[in-house]
Symmetry: C2
Subunit: 284 residues, 2 copies
Amino acid sequence: MQGVSRVLIDGVPDTAVPVTDRAFQYGDGLFETIRLVAGQLSLWRLHRERLESGARTLGIPLDLQCVEQHCAVLTQGIAAGVVRITVSRGDSLRGYAPLADAHPRIVCALYPAAAPDPRPYVQGVRVRLCDTRLAEQPRLAGLKHLNRLEQVLARQEWSTSEFAEGLMLDVAGRLIEGTFTNVFLVLDDRICTPRLDRCGVAGVMRRYLLEQRPGMDGHTVSECDLWPRDIEAARECFVTNSLIGIWPVHTIVIDGAARQLTGVTMGRQISAEVERRLGFTNSN
Amino acid sequence: MQGVSRVLIDGVPDTAVPVTDRAFQYGDGLFETIRLVAGQLSLWRLHRERLESGARTLGIPLDLQCVEQHCAVLTQGIAAGVVRITVSRGDSLRGYAPLADAHPRIVCALYPAAAPDPRPYVQGVRVRLCDTRLAEQPRLAGLKHLNRLEQVLARQEWSTSEFAEGLMLDVAGRLIEGTFTNVFLVLDDRICTPRLDRCGVAGVMRRYLLEQRPGMDGHTVSECDLWPRDIEAARECFVTNSLIGIWPVHTIVIDGAARQLTGVTMGRQISAEVERRLGFTNSN
């Protein structure tokens, strides 16, 4: 299969799922995308906690120990790569009611590591503000579930490499996240990232930054309500996820007008400190 | 596979899709569930138009003639049943950006017809008002796409056969639809069904009723903004989809309190006329 090195389905080498699988039928499940660094799942405790919390919210009886065992087998002897864990509610008859005896299906897939490219880390990236808005659904907010059509629509707004990412607002106009990253703004001595209690994916790297504050000396970091006017006021901006780490943003294009950020100093400093602590090799 | 009689994937007998399929990975696709009556796909023109419109909105280059050919092969020699067509954007690498050369995957599955049961048609059904709300996402409103976690959550609010369906409000509190049906209220001489421009699935049977007005002599039928207070004021209520036709509702349970509707006369009259016109055999 294109791009995938190896797949285990419920612990067994395989590459296909039945069409009766509820992830295929309804997007009824969750996923995690994890960086494999020196043979270890980076930030696994945080990925595990999000998966556990998502399974509880969706009512999927997930055995996390199974997930860990399958990942250990999948990554045996591999130093670097990307692991995607997909958990579906399992098979089902027609209709939204889950089977009483349904077993979740656990798909662990190994992808090759991305080719190293220091440029986005050193120079920063250019992003755009997307037209596609995020709906407010507090019941699903924060989860990395499989209903991702909003991100798919937003990602179709550009097709060239001109933009590294697209930022998204919610229906009320609040800044929420990027299509595959979380977003942080540096406002004076405060670093702010949007609250995700109405929509958005609560990224593992975002949580790591909020809790560990790597390289943020002298700055506070917190969750806030943010609006496009805060982008205008921001000194810096950076986007984060558990695969890339931190990309400083040098330019944000809003309605065709390019807004240059003052610099990428703070983003680079945080990025470098995260790389040091987590053993990522990106910017050098 | 449980419950499925026969499956064609891109026209070929098969039962599984690769884990790289975007319907499995992101719910990136559409579906239709169609009643097979006397060997024909009932209301096919309307199903086809919704599928076409959904594919256009999602940017999936779908060949509708292929879909028709596969369905013809799937149902050859079969008089009655249920056909589920699932269209995914096809395979993909990691990430939301579709492959430039992606081919949609067309899965046509045949299920046995439901066992005939005249009771819901004659006596009406008992439904509940769900706590799970629908988010407002105008970009996806009306489509029968594969991001159905809201319906899955709502359907988990009850597990006994006490309720035949659950009605859902949007985040603003408007009545929108049932978990697998559309809903109509009879208010004096008006029949009303919720507008679906913010959220909800625009059902094929709903469109048929709006356009053809079967059995509605002396009543107007239209799309309106409806609220829970309109449920209180309604003389009758019925729910519809392309498989069941029309179920009159005799009782709606809201916050634990049962509200009896005045009758099921109009619902039964419309149901009987739809059965007559479409050749459904349910209530007799």
